[in-house]
Amino acid sequence: MKKKSLSKKLTASPYLVWAAIFIIVPLIFVVYYSVTDGNGNFTLEYIMDIGKYKDVMLNSIWLGFIATVISLVISYPLAYIMARSGANVQRTMMILVMLPMWMNLLIRTYSMMILLQDTGIINTALSWLGIPPLHMINTQGAVVLGMVYNYIPYMILPLYSIMAKMDHNLIEAAEDLGANKLTVLKDIILPLSLPGIASGFTMVFVPSVSTFYISKKLGGNTFSLIGDVIEMQFKSANNYNLGAALSLVLMVLIIVCMMVMNRFTGEDDDGGVLI
């Protein structure tokens, strides 16, 4: 018994070391900085300062939420169609979904800029067609579009995997008992795919809320998200304590959002991400 548990510990040790250095220790630093001032004295001043950033924070969560919902609405039917297609179609579609992820996030976001600029590809195309140009870059819409574009694979993948696993007999059984397509979707497919929805929701929502790069490039300087504010504290304002305090609060808020989400999708979500 003892020997076995030792070997188990050894197997897990590379990751434990990794987690300690890159997750636990940084988290301790975040907590430490957020409750101390520049001289290392204990203070709750920075945490109390959060109120000033309430609007930015709520706006970040709101935009992240919209991006997540849009991703879900686009991904769900796609994942369903993928899961029901033949093996070759599934493989091809999977590659198409993954393809953007092989490119760097920064490059992908730059390419979005080129598309959305006032003199960008879309507006050039519109002017050829004689349609007046649309102002898209530096708007909240552009930022949401950037979030959806960058993170949608993380929504499609868990949905696809749970739908591909779903027993087709269940759908036939429901039809057999008199259910039409809509009832099958509402009463069978949807409840059974909730763990995938929860998983995808988490994986799109969390990075969307905390992003700073997408908002900076596609939102310009017209507004900033909480991620931008935090980045500013560390890079230009050099106020580590406030940056850490904001990070901590954001983290807590995301955890609360996820807990609400998990409650909503039920307890037995084997495919979901537990927080």
Binding site: L170, A173, A174, E175, D176, L177, A179, N180, I188, L192
Partner: protein
């Protein structure tokens, strides 16, 4: 078409990727009948069932329900319900909600639903299980819930696709009796798919033996067993010694180098035929009294009887007796006229019925092989 016909299949054919799965199936199913599709893996029995259920469309031919063409009717509008091989219970619903599923779609009042669900639970002996989680049920219990769920919507016809395949032998036997009782009590048509001939014989009113996408024989279990139409049916249902023979005249068959009296007639003089003799119908007698004789090459105790392989004229017979004869001894054999069944030659002639490669182990293996169709 008789008045009590409920389902008719007319010239049903089906191909998957150029492979013929069903080849011109014609079948009439009577109301309140227990009909079984029996055949080996890939014979087309499940495909036929799925066509009746509406999950598959045939390439040609028609499915008639009480005389009306239902080819284009989707599954949810057909008055047939299916018990799936692996039950297909909804894992996110409890026992009650599973059984109530079809009733809620019918927009029944919750009070009536509750009454019906309890009635169904009683029918399948699962009283008090309504709040249980599906995952917490044993295979046999899940099976019962699946039956209750399908019967709750009061189908005219229940389709059962190898419903007992996943259960152990003891439970399977109990469920066979129970299913038969339920069918009688509900007074509806059961169409049952199985590859287990014992199951088919003991439960059915009518057995449809299928192979290679074609119906080989339709009949009562007794007919199928006693009067198999060809070597395939004779071999698939029970044990059979199938020999090459010649009909010398009416009631006179020659095989294994001897002439036997039989009850069959209507063959041409000297027509080549297949002769079926069941292992339990052979009388073992002293050599000098036997019509033919042979040497015992193996003998296995089976409980009720001994099962011997006997070499007669280089053909290996299976013979079952209650008396013990040692391996290597020579025995005589007599066969009563009613124990001989004469069949016309068919494409299956010569493929079955010789026990020269017989082995108990092999038989065992083929018994437990779980069948996967499609």
């Amino acid at each position: 078409m008789g008045d009590n016909t409920i389902i008719q299949l007319q010239n049903i054919s089906k191909k998957f990727d150029d492979e013929v799965i069903l080849d011109n199936i014609n079948l009439t199913i009577k109301d309140k009948e227990f009909m079984t599709f029996l055949g080996p893996s890939g014979c087309g029995k499940t495909t036929t069932l799925r066509i009746i259920a509406g999950f598959l469309e045939s390439d040609s031919g028609q499915v008639l329900f009480e005389g009306k063409d239902i080819n284009n009717l989707p599954p949810h509008k057909r008055q047939v319900n299916t018990i799936f091989q692996r039950y297909a219970l909804f894992p996110h619903l409890n026992v009650y909600d599973n059984i109530a599923f079809g009733l809620r779609i019918k927009k029944m009042k919750e009070k009536d639903i509750s009454k019906k669900v309890h009635e169904m639970l009683e029918l399948v002996n699962l009283k008090g299980f309504q709040r249980r989680n599906i995952a917490s049920l044993s295979g046999g219990q899940q099976q019962r819930v699946a039956i209750a769920r399908a019967l709750a919507v009061e189908p005219r016809v229940l389709l059962l696709d190898e419903p007992l395949g996943a259960l152990d032998l003891k439970l399977r036997k109990d469920m066979q009796v129970e299913l038969k009782n339920i069918q009688k009590r509900m007074g509806i048509t059961f169409i049952y798919v199985t590859h287990d001939q014992q199951e088919a014989l003991s439960m059915s009113d009518t057995v449809v033996v299928m192979n290679d996408g074609r119906i080989q024989q339709i009949g009562t279990p007794i007919d199928i067993y006693n009067e198999p139409k060809n070597a395939f049916v004779a071999d698939f249902i029970g044990e059979s010694n199938i020999l090459d023979g010649v009909m010398l005249d009416d009631f006179k068959a020659k095989f294994s180098g001897a002439v036997f009296q039989c009850l069959d007639k209507g063959f041409a003089v000297n027509e080549s035929v297949d002769i079926v003799v069941r292992p339990e119908d052979v009388d073992v007698v002293p050599v000098e009294e036997g019509t033919i004789s042979g040497v015992i090459t193996s003998n296995t105790f089976k409980g009720v009887h001994f099962e011997m392989i006997v070499d007669i004229d280089n053909f290996k017979w299976m013979i079952q007796t209650t008396d013990y004869y040692p391996v290597g001894s020579k025995i005589g054999i007599q066969i009563e006229p009613d124990a001989i069944h004469v069949m016309k030659k068919s494409e299956y002639s010569g493929m079955y019925g010789d026990y020269s490669s017989f082995s108990d182990e092999l038989e065992h293996l083929s018994d437990i092989t779980v069948e996967e169709e499609e």
